[in-house]
Symmetry: C2
Subunit: 389 residues, 2 copies
DNA sequence: ATGAAAGCGCTAACAA
DNA sequence: TTGTTAGCGCTTTCAT
């Protein structure tokens, strides 16, 4: 009965198992397990014998079995709306960096911004027994995050606040960032300032609009309704939005574009019309991207701490996994206004200083060599603000 | 004995298990399993009873247990050198799109291009029992892929050929692509053409250099040694490489940059020196990116079928999983030369036609409205070439 | 200090 | 057609 080889399916490639190691080392599986877990109460002679056998057989534990036994494993699920947007992948990079150090792997699901796929990915990841979840929600405010609550998986949201889901959130100070950008344009003498914003009904777009309004209001400038355009955070959307602005009878003289991809589209529309930047149209982009310095003129932008968003999210998640009962937190990271030429603040000559092309890890100092070109846009001095909710 | 609750660890959130469903529906677990697997030989009344209970209890199978039992699960590991490079994430997007349809999830490991991390990720993914592996190898030709062979996991490499590892490979026709780009520059009258290439010793850089040499050779133009620079595929590297070219006593008048990020760096160096594109320096970029149309002038580039690389890789992997014994294949996808203004072929007026900013899914036709601006660079008519090795 | 054995949730061979 | 049960590889309690 014992030997009747009931299954040919399992362990198809005859992998080394703990049992084999135990047999080879002439100890019990319990001892092998203990050695591998680094528990004490094992005689050194035993420990050595096991370690050597493990090495000799090139044994690697089966984390599936381990996970089944333990009820979880060192894998974090990540749900991201768009793999093609460098902002999101930058965030994931930050998440990965932090989690890798803690010995976790990432299981990434891509929702396409679709609520249905998002839901689906959730289910998949839950079935996979992930230890936690990083959620970057899609554009649709309609998504039913409520139904995700019973999943009971430690979850941290980044950037987008999933409506109705009381989870930890880390995001940039969108409102402050845009307010600062618009204030800067105002200080340069601009009055006709437009905004190409994200979709209505999602929190980041709402906050960015708020910053725009704050700045104009405190300068005593009335809002011009056609200068406020809601688009979709995508390149084509930015292109179309900019064309709408350029078709206006009364043109704006400056525009703040609320994300990276829309800015690319907007720039193309501007270029196509032969409109000069910044003379005819000043441009500021929310979200600093590698190509900002390669554009002509270089792009003034509001830099989000992209990787930091990911890192911080990962830290919060690790803490929540450790203590699921801890109060929900919201971390708001400061943005930085990086002044280049597209807003009209600098002459071309100033910008063409020989400087590193892209802020390296120690980006701050690199930028500061161009003294004063960078301003911190945030309310806190340490660039880190925790709200306990 | 039975009820002594030995473990408080496993199944921490008291998830619904198949056993509970079976109890609730008053059938055996086998029946539940059969219903869920869609096997026949189950009476309809039973099937309905189970289905309803499954729905009512909101049961979701534990894929870990399933995976342990079966020896594999519907997860594909992906190893990628750089999450911050849109080319790689574009490929992953393609992989994901294809695999999602087949019901697979992705488990992504990020190697940072480091051989050691790559190896590490390999081990992790193996322990995780992934059903297959998509490998985009790092820049280091030193990586020891040989040692990965015994893993026995179905593997497909994309873009980079992992030295010494006989696996399916899908890549773009690098040689043809660069040859075409250089030929185009030659046809515009350029003679002093430089190349900023990737690191020596990796296959894609080797092939791209080959294409450069092919084109010059067939035009009877001797190679100028300082015009050939090896860099690292990163933005900073491209910046430095371009500065080296611009410091030359005898300047090139055109440059082909062998990847997306290096081009950004090169452009910045060019802009900093106040050098005009294309009048003083024609620029062609290998790899078309969303920002190519937003640059001024718009960037002539060799488009790789980014997502297609991923999709095809995924298909090959699925086929290999189905039949691990099938012969190793290599798929080479055609590139497209997209002529814009940075090579000097077009006047600004021509380029500023009102056209969609970015090729949508039906990219081909969109580009063709600008008639003749796009040329197919590839040896095959169907854009798909399979070599059986 | 070490080992025996239960059992995590599932699949599938075998029995009925 | 349905049920019973072994066992995937691991961790951990309990016994020795």
């Amino acid at each position: 009965m014992k030997n009747r080889a009931r299954n040919k399916l399992a362990n198809p490639n005859g992998a080394i198992t703990m049992k084999k190691v135990a047999a080879e080392a002439e100890v019990s599986v319990a001892t092998v397990s203990r050695v591998l877990a680094g528990l004490d109460g094992v005689k050194d002679s035993m420990r050595d014998r096991v370690s050597q056998t493990v090495a000799r057989l090139n044994y690697h534990p089966n984390t599936l079995a381990r996970g089944l036994r333990l009820g979880h494993r060192k894998v974090i699920g990540v749900i991201i709306p768009d793999l093609l947007n460098p902002f999101f992948t930058g965030v994931v990079h930050g998440v990965e960096a932090e989690l890798y150090r803690a010995g976790y792997t990432l299981q990434v699901g891509h929702s396409d911004g679709l609520a249905e796929r998002e839901q689906n990915q959730f289910k998949l990841l839950r079935s996979e027994g992930v230890a936690g979840l990083i959620l970057i929600a899609g554009n649709k405010p309609t998504a039913n995050y409520e139904s995700l609550r019973p999943f009971g998986i430690p979850t941290v949201a980044i950037d987008r606040s999933p409506g109705g889901l009381a989870v930890d959130l880390v995001c940039a100070n969108n409102r402050e960032g845009v307010r600062h950008a618009v204030s800067h344009l105002l200080s340069l003498g601009h009055r006709e300032i437009a905004i190409i914003n994200g979709p209505e009904g999602i929190n980041v777009a709402y906050e960015r609009l708020g910053g725009y309004q704050d700045a104009l209001r405190s300068a005593g400038i009335p809002l011009v309704e056609p200068f406020i355009i809601h688009s979709d955070f995508r390149q084509q959307g930015g292109y179309e939005a900019m064309r709408r602005l350029l078709d206006l009878a009364k043109l704006p003289r400056a525009v703040v574009v609320a994300n990276n991809l829309m800015t690319l589209g907007a720039l193309q529309a501007i270029n196509e019309r032969g409109i000069r930047i910044p003379e005819d149209m000043a441009v500021v982009c929310f979200d600093d991207m590698p190509w900002a310095t390669s554009l002509r003129p270089p792009l003034t932008s509001v830099a989000q701490p992209v990787q930091e968003l990911g890192r911080t999210g990962a830290q919060l998640l690790l803490e929540r996994i450790k203590d699921p009962k801890r109060p929900v937190r919201q971390v708001v990271l400061a943005t930085r206004l990086i002044v280049r030429a597209s807003c009209g603040a600098l002459t071309a000559a100033q910008v063409e200083l020989p400087a590193p092309p892209r802020l390296p890890k120690t980006g701050r100092s690199a930028m500061q060599t161009s003294s004063g070109l960078e301003v911190e846009a945030g309310t806190t001095s340490n660039g880190f603000c925790i709200k306990n909710l």
